[in-house]
Symmetry: C2
């Protein structure tokens, strides 16, 4: 599998966003209906009324199309998180909001568009750049919240920030990683609440 | 699917352990080779040279045979944990040993007998009694270690024991639950070490 280095890898050709979006929209529908594995670039071409060659002017493979869809999907999830985080709340609330919003958004996607969720799972399993970028950004959001809590004296500072960040990400990973989340859908709010309480006990100054 | 109430559910008939074991051994080999889903009770009967009716004297379904194999497999994993836990070590070491031994044993199984691991995954996904009993016993081992640490003053006692136990199990679940572990095989020792340190910080008196 041809793994590229950026979430926009494989996107190429004329800078005509409306055509690119049209291809993505058709691909999204096709993947949602027939599944990512069963859809070919020829199917997409037929559905949109473009030639296969024309589609290849915009995306260099089916994976590049899948990547763009995953990127859009995960970016929109992260936008929701950033919006929910807002500004000025205590770091403890930030932790709660971060993981609750991610889990809620992912669960919504799982139940409302299972086949799209399956592409996201696929991208996570294959370590596509889109899912790696998502993970990197979740870690960054987490680190910012921890930094804030350390600065205000809300969290302990004996443990290095990187160690705190890495271990908390591991503790919460089942609710961030779509591959794991699919097995943890029962009792999510209570489980996150329990885990956040444990994490906060670990951060006591 | 006919879910039974105990790990021995579906096991019946004459109390002849050697024949029961012979059936389990043949089933284990067959499942390991052809997979649980593709093996029928008729296949097993042929392989052992028994009639199908005779096998049904000992197990009332294919699931009952699968259950017995999972039970054996998970019991042997728990035996290793109990042996490693030994006696007299500090509660912090106990926590480390508990989760490290479980993860190591499960990883060994994953790499040495993938198809058997797949039956265990199947049993976890379907919440078979064998895997539920395994989870119950891991929680019990965890609770005993926490109780010991609370009694010796090694761990804090402000948080109720049940809350500590539930949240720590959640934090470590990816290394206990075979369904989750299959996605977490990279970097296990370091990840467990990080998580145990977080858990110990949360238990500081």
């Amino acid at each position: 599998m041809n793994i590229k280095a950026s979430p926009h890898a494989g996107v190429r050709g004329p800078a005509d966003h409306s055509i690119r979006d049209q291809i993505l929209l058709a691909a999204d529908e096709h993947f949602s209906y027939y599944g990512y594995g069963k859809t070919t670039v020829s199917d997409l071409a037929k559905a949109i009324g473009f030639s296969k060659a024309y589609i290849y002017k915009f995306f260099d493979s089916k994976q590049a199309i899948g990547e763009a869809i995953c990127h859009k999907c995960l970016s929109s999830l992260l936008d929701k998180v950033r919006e929910a985080l807002g500004e000025g709340s205590a770091a403890a609330d930030g932790l709660r909001i971060l993981f609750t919003t991610i889990a809620a958004g992912s669960t919504d996607l799982f139940f409302s568009d299972r086949r799209l969720y399956d592409i996201v799972i696929y991208s996570t399993g294959e370590k596509w750049p889109s899912s790696q970028e998502y993970e990197r950004q979740v870690r960054e959001l987490l680190k910012n919240i921890l930094r804030q809590g350390r600065e205000t004296g809300e969290f302990e500072t004996r443990t290095p920030l990187d160690d705190q960040c890495r271990s908390i990400f591991l503790a919460m990973e089942s609710f961030v990683n779509p591959l794991l989340l699919q097995h943890k859908l029962d009792g999510i709010p209570a489980a996150i609440d329990d885990l956040i309480k444990l994490v906060l006990r670990s951060l006591t100054p």
